[in-house]
């Protein structure tokens, strides 16, 4: 397997043509990639083509049914719902991507150091991970929401801090096998430092595991962002995200204004599905074992 190639070009060497071909054969995964691309276009380019005012309220235009001028209707303070879907999607995608990547970075560092150090350090670090996994994230988030309402950067940090545990376990397992490889032992024998061993050999050779974990992590983070608003921790008006739109539309839905909850709900489901499908495709293409 090409995964064993080490050194500076390790990363490049791990994306050979057969890998792309294997990924491309997975129709679900390619579909997922397409969905993510469409949503990125929709949220980040869409507002330039379909310009709406999402800052000011317009009380003459509240709770309108979907129509020619407002394709998805308007909400309780007069925001155009289609425009709001783009506007909220920016936050959902941005926070989800950033938090997923942050969680993977923390988990990768933690797991590779624990696995590489071994012994007591490993035992202590991994018991901390066990303890973190034993406390469900939703409970921690609810406690945090009782204290503070963070902005977007704060949200990214909080979500990253509650979700790095699983990637750290995966990377640790990978490190345990990699650190006994000849090229790592050779580097150590000729006087290379531990840091160099991790940076030059362990991490580049774990790239497949890390990339797959990161993809699933982003999917989970986008889902978690949706929960965060429900728990009262979300971004504050006039800013919003898909989860915030759902929470805001909860009561409206009971009075029949379905257009306030169905679009953001479907958007969340589609994007999370898409990232999971990409993760599945990458995992099969890399041939790594990860989540079931």
């Amino acid at each position: 397997m090409s995964v064993q190639s080490a050194g500076r070009w390790g990363l490049v060497a791990q994306f050979p043509a057969p890998l792309i071909a294997r990924f491309a054969r997975n129709r679900l995964a390619v579909g997922g990639l397409l969905v993510v691309a469409l949503f990125l276009l929709f949220c980040f380019v869409g507002p330039t083509l379909y310009s709406t005012d999402q800052i000011h309220t317009d009380l003459t235009q509240v709770n309108l049914h979907p129509s020619g001028s407002h394709w998805l209707g308007t909400d309780a303070v007069g925001h155009d719902e289609l425009g709001r879907l783009m506007y909220g999607g920016k936050v959902s995608l941005l926070v989800g991507l950033a938090a997923g990547v942050l969680a993977t970075v923390i988990g990768t560092l933690w797991g590779s150091i624990a696995g590489y150090a071994g012994g007591w350090v490993d035992a202590v670090m991994m018991r901390i991970v066990d303890a973190g996994i034993a406390i469900p994230a939703l409970f921690i988030l609810l406690v945090v929401s009782a204290i503070t309402t963070p902005g977007v950067p704060g949200l990214i940090v909080i979500l990253g801090l509650v979700s790095w545990l699983v990637p750290s376990r995966l990377v640790r397992a990978e490190t345990l096998t990699l650190k006994r490889r000849d090229y790592v032992l050779t580097l150590r024998a000729i006087g290379g430092t531990h840091g160099r061993a991790i940076a030059r050999h362990i991490l580049p050779n774990s790239v497949s595991t890390i990339v797959v974990a990161a993809t699933f992590q982003v999917a989970d983070a986008i889902l978690l962002v949706a929960y965060v608003s429900y728990l009262g921790l979300g971004v504050q008006p006039p800013s919003t995200d898909w989860g915030g739109m759902l929470s805001a539309g909860l009561t409206a839905a009971y009075s029949g204004r379905w257009w306030l909850i169905v679009p953001p709900g479907l958007a969340i489901i589609l994007v999370v599905c898409a990232f999971n499908a990409i993760g599945d495709g990458l995992r099969d293409a890399f041939d790594v074992r990860g989540r079931g």
Partner: protein, 319 residues
């Protein structure tokens, strides 16, 4: 002997994990700005009242002292007293936990009963339309926020067709909860959906792995019929690891209960936790998180042990 040693080591590890959990939760809750005095006494409280409250509750002592005191109480089964409900936390949890267990156990059973045959069927029909349809369903179910799913179910089944009530049973005891089974349907189904998604994936993977084992080839070569092999050998060998996964799934089940109980106004531990978070009721928050964490640690321990006993190959792999 080997197994006993392993068991002793795992139990010691679990105890260390629980100790870390108490430190983490204690630290998190006591790092809050404002403190519980503001939450309990309200914004009108004078500084004197706050000092008095903090002194009465022991909140003015150094944190390590408070922690050790907390730990000693814990060993005596004392989780403290709720700030807002004026009742022992252990008593509150005693009342609420059984109801949450009813909800989670029913959801888990329903989830498994659906997931296991679906996963096996997918494995047998691998890469055929049935497999793709169920895979797509699992992806969607896994990706749907529990509260959105619950809301859609409520709208469909209480507004479109009036089959089920939108509120869960309100009884104080487990018996009263079961007295109203129709009201349990929507909460249980909402809780089970993501279980079906996750466990059908596990079952599919486990069945596929077993189907590629040598013993299946041998049995087939020996003339056993596909169906007999599947139900006599593959089913049993795939089922145990999947059931063991339940142990690792405990925190997800409780997380789901938190949302489901709030959504359907079901007076279990999740709703208790929810209202405690609104009123900064630290002892209740601490108590609930502790109980759930212990349940998770025990679940993980059981899962590890079961897997090791059932599958001797695990011995070689895990550390």
């Amino acid at each position: 002997m080997d197994t006993l040693l392993y068991l002793a080591r795992r139990i010691a590890q679990a105890l260390v994990v629980i100790l870390i959990v108490t430190v983490v939760v204690f630290g998190l809750l006591h790092a809050l700005p404002g403190g519980p005095a503001r939450g309990i006494l309200g914004p009108q409280a004078t500084p004197q009242q706050i000092t008095l409250f903090n002194h009465d509750q022991g909140l003015d002592r150094p944190l390590p002292v408070q922690y050790l005191y907390y730990l000693r109480q814990l060993l005596h089964g004392d989780l403290g007293t709720s700030y807002t409900l004026n009742e022992a936390v252990s008593r509150l949890i005693e009342q609420r936990l059984p109801k949450t267990l009813v909800l989670t156990v029913l959801s888990a059973v329903l989830g498994l009963v659906l997931a296991i045959p679906l996963g096996m069927w997918q494995a047998v029909r691998r890469n055929k339309p049935a497999d793709y349809v169920i895979t797509t369903f699992s992806f969607v179910a896994y990706s749907t926020p529990v509260y959105f799913l619950g809301l859609v179910l409520v709208l469909v089944f209480t507004q479109l067709v009036r089959w089920f009530p939108s509120q869960a049973p309100q009884g104080d005891t487990v018996g009263q909860v079961f007295a109203d089974p129709v009201a349990l349907v929507l909460p249980v189904v909402t809780g089970a959906a993501s279980m079906v998604a996750v466990f059908s994936r596990y079952m599919r993977a486990a069945t596929l792995e077993n189907l590629s084992e040598d013993y299946v080839r041998t049995a087939r070569a020996g003339g056993s019929r596909q169906r007999a092999i599947l139900f006599k050998h593959v089913f049993r060998n795939s089922l145990t690891p999947v059931i063991a996964m339940l142990g690792y799934y405990v925190p997800v089940l409780f997380g789901g209960a938190l949302v489901v109980e709030q959504l359907f106004n079901y007076p279990g531990m999740g709703l208790l936790f929810w209202s405690a978070a609104q009123s900064s009721d630290y002892p209740v928050l601490l108590g609930c998180v502790l109980v759930i964490s212990v349940a998770t640690v025990v679940g993980t321990l059981l899962a590890d042990v079961v897997q090791r006993i059932v599958d001797p190959r695990v011995k070689a792999g895990r550390t």
